[in-house]
């Protein structure tokens, strides 16, 4: 405890003696009658006065709360401390674990710590980690091991749990279909006898100590494919150890105190809590020379994905030129664990009571976070906006430091973004290259305060409009023809697969192969050429230099582009008017880049790399650059394959959404 708390002063009681004296006087019989009379009158008078005063007081108090409290320096809010649970000296915990088709629950000493009977939800293996000394829940996870790869996630998680912790497992509905050998072996190594033989629709509960004894296991086999095993209820006792035994003995430093606080509360963060050689929580990356974004606030928008947040903050705090004091993490909801992560890193966090649902809620959370950011840093002209499921490149701040003056000076710019929608492993090449694009990629970007305060904030979609904030920002009414600056190779990496609009398949298809810069201190090339007019000169120069590809070949084939390196090639596609993206979309599809909506265009021009050559695509005749097309060349036209397409397409919910 760092706070110095004085003992509360004891107040003397004076009232009592006065009351007694009065009572003795009353005993005096002679004066009694008279006294009664005067007393009655007095009482009446006092009542009236007291009542009037009360009315006045309440009125005044209602209006002048401030004034009143200012009088005597007392806090107007009685900050009554909630009485803490008495220290539990009991050495034994009663644990109840229930597993069935439609419901699971876990109770520790009569307190339900898990209860899930929601329909169509929570299928798979539920895992709870308890602190072996206090019995507190340190982690709660569910792995849908009916589905592929979830068992790998479970193994990863279990490996990260410290030795000695109490582990509780229970299956809801089905947990064996994709529970592979490796996972079964891990469960077996924890002492489970049943795990290796778990099969279709079996019910199962297990309680054990990691690296130690087994407290109980129950299992009910499913009699037939079409039915579930009978519900099982395991009741057992767990013996608690001393707090000393449950903690690591790190040297007593400020950092380790934060670590200790964190590690005694939550589990599943691996080496940050290992007793021997824990991973650092302070990174001290090299400062940037002439850092133009040192004083730019960084808003990290988070939900309840603390493990993501942990990974994200690690990469952010490791980026050169980071200024931790400017970082604020905005958590959408009153979630404890994300806040624990924020505190582990010594950052400041703000929680936001949810007000709306789904997309609109994210949108309102964004608004509140952005407004708060500019309130907290009133001097700031910009804010960096990040999300909890991003890795941040080591040269993220260096990239911004070199480009931010453009956002300040060039009014035709909407944002600077660290993300190139089309920057995949096979289509991005040059870490020093920047583009101007008409789309707003998000995923790590810089927002100008004036844009927010003067334009966006006043008309931000209200909660009842179920709009995505980023879709809204991309609408022409907001963007007003302005462009964003993006790097060829992204400075952020989108690793999240559990999100509102995310699923594993979608992530694999559109994000996994995204290129991410890992080179420190990249010197950006010719930044001035990104200004509005300069950029046109630059594009004309490029197109002038570019070799026209053989349009008779199939643009989807690798052979479309010669086996060269470092050359500039151009191809022309059909684009009847500004909004005609028929051919582009098909081309994007066969090139395996972002095709769910149109991204990365600048006046009907797309720039990417193919086989290490700069590859330009011009939409004819809509693009002003069409004039560069030799008259002999017929623009490529590609049509979407007929009908069946719809069935194979990515789920509609994922369409065009990256957040």
């Amino acid at each position: 405890m760092e706070e110095w708390k004085p003992n509360p002063a004891v107040k003397p009681h004076k009232k009592r003696s006065w009351y007694l004296a009065w009572k003795y006087k009353l005993m005096n019989q002679r004066a009694l009658r008279k006294l009664c009379q005067t007393g009655a009158v007095l009482f009446l008078l006092v009542t009236v006065i007291v009542n009037i005063k009360l009315i006045l007081d309440t009125r005044r108090a209602a209006y002048e709360e401030e004034e009143e409290s200012a009088q005597d320096y007392d806090d107007e809010m009685l900050n009554v401390e909630v009485p803490r649970h008495p220290v539990n000296n009991k050495k034994v915990l009663d644990v109840e674990v229930y597993s069935s088709r439609s419901k699971v629950y876990v109770a520790v000493d009569g307190t339900t710590v898990l209860e899930d009977e929601a329909r169509e939800q929570g299928r798979g293996i539920h895992v709870i980690v308890l602190n072996q000394a206090t019995g507190h829940v340190m982690a709660k996870r569910v792995f849908d091991t009916y589905s592929p790869h979830e068992d790998e996630a479970m193994v990863l998680f279990l490996n990260m749990v410290a030795r000695g912790r109490i582990l509780i497992f229970t299956i809801k509905d089905e947990g064996s279909f994709h529970l592979k050998e490796t996972a079964k072996n891990v469960l077996k190594s924890l002492g489970s006898q049943v795990a290796p033989f778990l099969s279709w629709r079996d019910m199962w509960t297990f309680v054990g100590k990691k690296g130690g004894e087994v407290y109980g296991e129950k299992h009910a086999k499913s009699p037939a494919l079409s039915t579930w095993g009978d519900p099982v209820l395991l009741k057992t006792e767990v013996h608690l150890t001393s707090v000393e035994d449950a903690e690591c003995h790190w040297p007593d430093t400020e950092l380790n105190r934060r670590r200790k606080r964190f590690c005694s509360k939550v589990e599943g963060y691996g080496s940050v809590c290992s007793c021997k050689d824990p991973t650092p929580i302070e990174f001290n990356p090299d400062p940037l020379k002439d850092n133009k974004v040192f004083d730019v606030p960084v808003a990290v928008i988070a939900g309840n994905r603390p493990n993501y947040l942990y990974r994200m903050l690690r990469s952010l705090l490791s980026a050169q030129g980071v200024n931790p004091q400017m970082i604020t993490v905005f958590i959408d909801g009153y979630y404890e664990e994300p806040m624990d992560v924020v505190e582990l890193f010594g950052l400041s966090g703000i929680q936001h009571t949810p007000i709306s649902i789904k997309n609109a809620r994210v949108s309102q959370h964004y608004k509140a976070s952005l407004t708060a950011t500019f309130n907290l840093f009133p001097d700031a002209k910009f804010a960096v906006v990040l999300e909890e499921d991003l890795d941040i490149s080591v040269d993220f701040f260096s990239f911004l430091s070199q480009s931010i003056h453009l956002l300040e000076e060039d009014e035709s710019l909407y944002c600077i973004s660290a993300w190139n929608d089309q920057g995949y492993e096979h289509t991005a090449e040059d870490p020093s290259l920047l583009y101007r694009v008409e789309t707003m990629p998000g995923l790590g970007w810089v927002l100008r305060k004036s844009l927010y305060k003067d334009e966006l904030e006043p008309k931000w979609p209200t909660p009842e409009k179920l709009w995505d904030w980023d879709m809204w920002m991309r609408m022409p009414e907001q963007r007003k023809g302005r462009e964003c600056i993006i790097p060829d190779i992204s400075r952020s990496y989108h690793f999240g697969i559990v999100g509102l609009n995310m699923n594993g398949y979608f992530h694999e298809a559109y994000f996994k192969k995204h290129k991410f810069n890992t080179v420190p201190n990249v010197q950006l090339k010719n930044v001035e050429s990104l200004r509005k007019d300069n950029y046109e000169t630059e594009i004309h120069r490029l197109l002038g230099e570019a070799e026209v590809l053989d349009h008779s070949k199939n643009p989807c084939e690798d052979s479309f582009v010669p086996d060269t390196e470092g050359r500039v090639y151009v191809m022309f596609i059909r684009m009847e008017q500004e909004a005609d993206f028929t051919t582009w979309t098909q081309l994007a599809k066969c090139l395996h880049i972002w095709d769910l909506d149109v991204r990365g265009n600048h006046k009907g021009l797309w720039r990417l790399f193919r086989k290490k050559n700069h590859f330009l695509v011009v939409g004819v005749p809509a693009s002003p650059y069409s004039s560069k097309k030799p008259s002999s060349v017929t623009p490529v036209f590609m049509e979407p394959p007929a009908k069946e397409e719809g069935a194979v397409a990515v789920p509609a919910v994922a369409a065009a959404e990256q957040t």
């Binding site: 760092e2 706070e3 110095w4 708390k5 004085p6 003992n7 509360p8 002063a9 209006y63 401030e66 409290s69 200012a70 005597d72 320096y73 007392d74 806090d75 107007e76 009685l78 900050n79 009554v80 401390e81 400020e254 004091q325 905005f330 400041s348 966090g349 703000i350 929680q351 936001h352 009571t353 007000i355 309102q364 509140a368 407004t371 708060a372 500019f374 309130n375 907290l376 840093f377 009133p378 001097d379 305060k453 003067d454 006043p458 008309k459 209200t462």
Partner: protein, 427 residues
């Protein structure tokens, strides 16, 4: 026990207290080992310093022959800390304890998040008190707020806190929250101690006396919007944007002239009731005491691109100026006349020459933050608003007649015809 390092103090002249000097020196030592930039804001000391300011400025390293400033026996010495320049490190307090200081931290909600729906951040430190022997250092934490100013919070003790830790009532800061300009600082040596002080102590002291800050009533504003949902139409957004920039321009112009003004009428009601500009109000209203009137006001606004639309009344009576802002948004400036028991401003009907009078109870001025601006409002805002709009001020009224709607309007005769050319000027 500290040994008297200050040579003259050893003589222990009457009324001098070396304890204070020693405690301040220790505190400054503590602060400098942790690289925390503090500056002296103690009104009593700054008052003394101000008298000798020329001499102090000219000899930054000068040794003083006697202890003039830090030896007057007082319970407190007050310093300020800019939160922005401080990395909240815990080490400071451990060192302080080792040096023998007892310390008290007063934290509370962050008002910069108050306006927001349901954001809850960590509580922020507002005041620190470091006590050693019979003297205490009061360290006031200043935060930057939107509107380019510094803010400090009120000092409120929580239940478990020791009310007798120091005589809180004697503190110079903390009775109310306060708003200040960002000061320019000067490193000086006084009484052989190197401290930073505001470069211009007298103007700082002037600020101290008028620093009281009122937070907008965000909770009530939210309740208001629950009852009457906010107008989010494009027109409303546009009007608010224009009104905000007009208010910014007006504030800049008047501040440059050194003319004190406050939010009046509808603009004041908007602040008090909904913490925002009322979208259908169609103008921006400011009040100025007639004693602060300057002839340069009109040319200054014209220079700022706001032509005079009309001028009613005269300096001696019922003066009112109206400037034309961008697209129909008008800036109305009412001049207020102080009487023994009330304050009033006047109105004039152009076509009839009729005069009106609007009466207000007396009020003082407080700072507040409004649309990213530090501006004055009447401290007794409720009385002001109630006088103007009556007890039903909480209910939005969209049809408004300035001659009959205000609760406090009175007929005030008619301008004599021969004065009309002077007192009714329309452009």
């Amino acid at each position: 026990q500290n040994g008297a390092a200050f040579s003259k103090v050893r003589g222990s002249q009457s009324g001098q207290d070396s304890t204070r000097w020693h405690v301040v020196r220790k505190f400054l030592g503590l602060i400098s080992t942790h690289n925390i930039p503090v500056y002296l804001i103690d009104p009593l000391i700054l008052g003394l310093v101000d008298k000798d300011i020329e001499q102090i400025r000219s000899s930054p390293d000068g040794l003083s022959p006697e202890c003039k400033y830090f030896c007057a026996p007082r319970d407190f010495t007050t310093f300020a800390l800019l939160e922005k320049t401080w990395k909240h490190e815990v080490g400071l307090f451990r060192t302080a304890e080792k040096m023998g200081f007892q310390w008290l931290k007063i934290i509370n909600k962050d008002p910069r998040l108050d306006g927001m729906d349901d954001l809850s951040g960590m509580e922020i430190p507002l005041h620190y008190i470091f006590k050693l022997a019979s003297h205490a250092i009061h360290l006031v934490v200043f935060y930057e707020r939107s509107g380019n100013f510094l803010w400090h919070g009120p000092l409120r003790l929580k239940q478990h806190m020791d009310r007798k830790f120091v005589p809180f009532r004697k503190l110079h800061f903390g009775r109310y929250p306060g708003a200040y300009e960002k000061p320019e600082l000067l490193l000086v040596s006084i009484d052989d101690l190197k401290v930073q002080i505001p470069k211009n102590p007298s103007s700082f002291l002037e600020e101290v006396s008028h620093s009281r800050f009122l937070e907008c009533r965000y909770r009530e504003a939210r309740a208001f919007f629950q009852l009457y949902s906010d107008d989010a139409s494009l027109d409303a957004v546009e009007f608010r944007k224009k009104a905000k920039s007009l208010l910014h321009l007006a504030a800049l112009t008047l501040n440059n002239l050194g003319v004190k003004f406050w939010l009046s009428s509808g603009t004041c009601l908007g602040w008090y009731r909904q913490c925002n500009i009322i979208p259908y109000s169609k103008d921006v209203d400011l009040g100025i005491f007639i004693r602060d009137y300057k002839a340069d006001i009109i040319p200054a606004f014209q220079k700022a691109g706001l032509p005079l639309k009309h001028k009613f009344g005269k300096v001696e009576d019922s003066l009112e100026l109206s400037f034309q802002g961008e697209d129909d948004v008008k800036l109305d400036i009412f001049f207020f006349y102080e009487e023994d028991d009330h304050i009033w401003n006047g109105g004039t009907q152009a076509k009839s020459g009729k005069k009106f009078k609007y009466l207000f109870p007396k009020f003082s001025l407080c700072w507040t933050e409004f649309v990213e601006l530090k501006v004055h409002v009447p401290c007794e805002t409720l009385q002001y608003v109630e006088a103007n709009y009556g007890p039903e001020w909480k209910v939005p009224v969209k049809t408004w007649d300035w001659k009959s709607s205000p609760f406090n309007v009175q007929d005030n005769g008619v301008w004599p015809i021969d004065e009309w050319d002077n007192v009714i000027q329309i452009y």
